[in-house]
Symmetry: C2
Subunit: 395 residues, 2 copies
Amino acid sequence: MRDVAIIGSAQTKFGKLGKSNTELFCDASLAAMEDANVSQKDIEALFVGNVLGGFEEGQINIGGHLVGALHLGNIPATRFEGACCSGTVAFRDAFMWVASGFYDIVLVGGMERAMIMGTPFSTRTFAMANDCKYEGTTGITFPGVFAMVARRYSKIYDIPLDKLREKMAHVSMKNHKHGALNPHAQFYQKMGNLKVEDVLNSTVVCDPLTLMDCCPFSDGGAAVVLASADIARRYTDEPIYVLGVGQGSLGHMGAQADITKPASRVFSARSAFKQAGLGPKDVDVVEIHDCFTSAEIVASEAMGFFDWGKGADAVESGQTDIGGRPVINSSGGLMGKGHPIGATGVAQVHAIVEQLKGKAPNGNQVNPVPEIGMTDTLGGGFNTIAHTILGRSRR
Amino acid sequence: MRDVAIIGSAQTKFGKLGKSNTELFCDASLAAMEDANVSQKDIEALFVGNVLGGFEEGQINIGGHLVGALHLGNIPATRFEGACCSGTVAFRDAFMWVASGFYDIVLVGGMERAMIMGTPFSTRTFAMANDCKYEGTTGITFPGVFAMVARRYSKIYDIPLDKLREKMAHVSMKNHKHGALNPHAQFYQKMGNLKVEDVLNSTVVCDPLTLMDCCPFSDGGAAVVLASADIARRYTDEPIYVLGVGQGSLGHMGAQADITKPASRVFSARSAFKQAGLGPKDVDVVEIHDCFTSAEIVASEAMGFFDWGKGADAVESGQTDIGGRPVINSSGGLMGKGHPIGATGVAQVHAIVEQLKGKAPNGNQVNPVPEIGMTDTLGGGFNTIAHTILGRSRR
C-alpha cells in the first residue's frame, strides 16, 4: 500500500443555508479542488457521505448526480451512509482506493441539509440510526443516549451529578469559544464567553443535558482532495499525510457492557494508532465528535488521551483547551462550528489540515504549529465510529 | 494489488418474505459463510448494499447493527447506496479492500424489503434515484425511462414499434423460462412458457411496456465471502476469481446525447474489461440488469456483445439463450428471479459463481461449464452502473 496525502480541503459556512445538497457538495468541492490546484480532469473517483437526502429532498443515488453537476465525466461515484459518521467512512474508503494504487487523485466530501428540515423532523430521522427493533421501539433519541451516558458516568466514577454537570459545561464553553472565532462556524461571533451558569441554566433537553450541552443541526458541506503521496508535491507545497485510519461497529447499545466505554471506539482508535505507528501521547490536536458535552468526555477517554473517568477533570482544568495537550475541538467542534451530518467527518479532517498547515482561524491556531492531528466521528449510539490520524510529515 | 477470489456465496429465496432487513442479510450471510467454510472470527470487515431501509423499516446506519446481529466483534461495516446498483457498488468496494492487502477475508452482501412495501410506496421511493431537481420534478418513474428507451430505439434503428415489442417480448420469455427453473426465484415454477402474445397482451404499465416487460419488486438477500486469492484454496476447492470491476456515473438523463447508449455503461464495462485483460468475445455467461425488457437489450449493446441496434435481434434469434453465446440471465434475471434492490448485484455475482462452478439450477446450467462470466447492474436512469468479471482461472 502507498502513502496518501491530502492536497486540498475546504468547507462551506455552516448554518441555515437554503442550498440543495448538490449545491453544498459542489461549493465545498470546487473550493477544495482550487486549494489542491487540480481541475475536473484530474479527479478519478468521487466519494460522498450523505444521510438525509432521501428524506428531505427526495434524492438518493446522489453520487452520480454530483459527478454530473461537477462535470467530472463518467467517473465512479459512491455514496456512504453511516449516520453522523458518514463523512469519515467515505474518507477512509477514499483513502484505500488511493493507498491501493488504483487511483492517484480522488475527491471525497460530505454534505447535509439538517437545519433546514427543522428540529422535529431531524430528530425523527436521526433516531433511525439506532437499531430499529431493539432501540427504536423504545422511543430513544440521541439526547437520551448521551443523558444516559452522563448519568452512568456520574454513578460509576462517583461524581455527583451537579458536579459532573459543571465539568461538562466546560466542554460547551471551550467549543463555543473556539466556534465564535471561526468564520465558517454556525455560531461565529456568538456565545464566545459562556459561563458555567449559562450552560446549567439553559433549557433542559433531556435531563441532565440542557440546550447548551447539545450541538445544533446545521446545513453545510466539506470536501478534501486525496492524492498518492508520491505525486502530492506536484500540486501543493503543504501536503498533509494520512498516517492511519480506523473504523469500528458496535450493534445496539443493550448488548454492551458499558456505554461510557464503547468497544467500537477503542477498536477503531487503536486500529488507526497501530497503522500510524503512534499512540495517544503523540497527538497534538484532535477534533472529537462532541454532539453532546458528555460525548466529548467519554470519547477523549476511549481514544486513550485520559484514563477512564478522568476526561471530565481534564476539560474542567483546561487541559484540552488551546495551550493544553491534546487540544480538543479548536475549530469549535460540532457544538460551536455546527453539525451538518454527512459533512461533519470531512470538516473535521479539514479543521486538522488547517491546524497542521498553521492556517486555523485567528485565535484558534495552536502554536507552535502541531505535527500530528486526529479526528473522531460517531454515527448512532456508538454503532459506527471512525478515526483518522494526519501528520505534517510522511511516515 | 493482489488477486481476489470468491470463496463462498448464497442468496435467500426472493419473493414476499416477511422478514426484516437484518434477517435477510443474516440468512444470506450465514449461508455464504458456510459455503466458504469460514466462521465469524475470520471476517475482517462487512460491506452492505441497502436502499430503502430508512423508509420502510426506519433503519439507517445498518452496517454496524448487522455486525452485532452476526456477532462479528467490532469490525468495520460500511453501507453503500447507489439505488438498484448498491449491491455491486458494495462488492466492488469490498474487492478493493482485499486487493489492496488491507484485509484477507471480508463479507459483502445486500438486502431489501421492496415487495413488502407495496407498489405505490416502492415506486415513489425508487423515483428518488433520479435527479430530484431535473427529473423528479417531471414526475418520471423508471417504467417511463425504459418506455422512452424503447421508443427511441424504435426510432433510431427504424424498427416499427410493434416489431420491436415482439423482439422485447423474447427477453421476458427467456428470463421467465430460466426463473421458473430456479428454486430461489420469485417466479419459480411460474410463467415458464410465456408466448409473445402473453407479453404483448398483459396490462399496460407505461406504453409500450406491459406488466410482462417489467421486473417485479422483491424481498431478498444475497452475500459473498471474498478472500485474497493466495489463501482461497485453504477454504474451498473451487475459488472463483474476480478478474475485473468497473463503475461509472452519468448524472441526469437530460444531459445525455442518447439514453439508448449510456456513456456510463460503456465506461464502466470497458474499465472492467481493461482490468481483466479481456473483451466481450471472451464472456460466456452474463447477468444483466433486466429491470425492463428494453433495459436488457440496450445493456447487451453497451457492454459490447452486439453492435448498436442489434441487441433486439440477438435475443429474438435465441442467441442469448442457453445454447447461444453469451448466455444472458440464465438465473432468470431481475425479471424471473426477482429484484430485491440492494441484494440484486450480489445475487448476480452469486448466479455467475454457480454457473462457473457448474452448480446452476437444473436446466439453467450452461454446458460445458463456462470459464468467464460477467455482471451488469444499473442504479437509477443510468446514473450509477457497475460491472464485475469473474473467472474460473486466475489471471
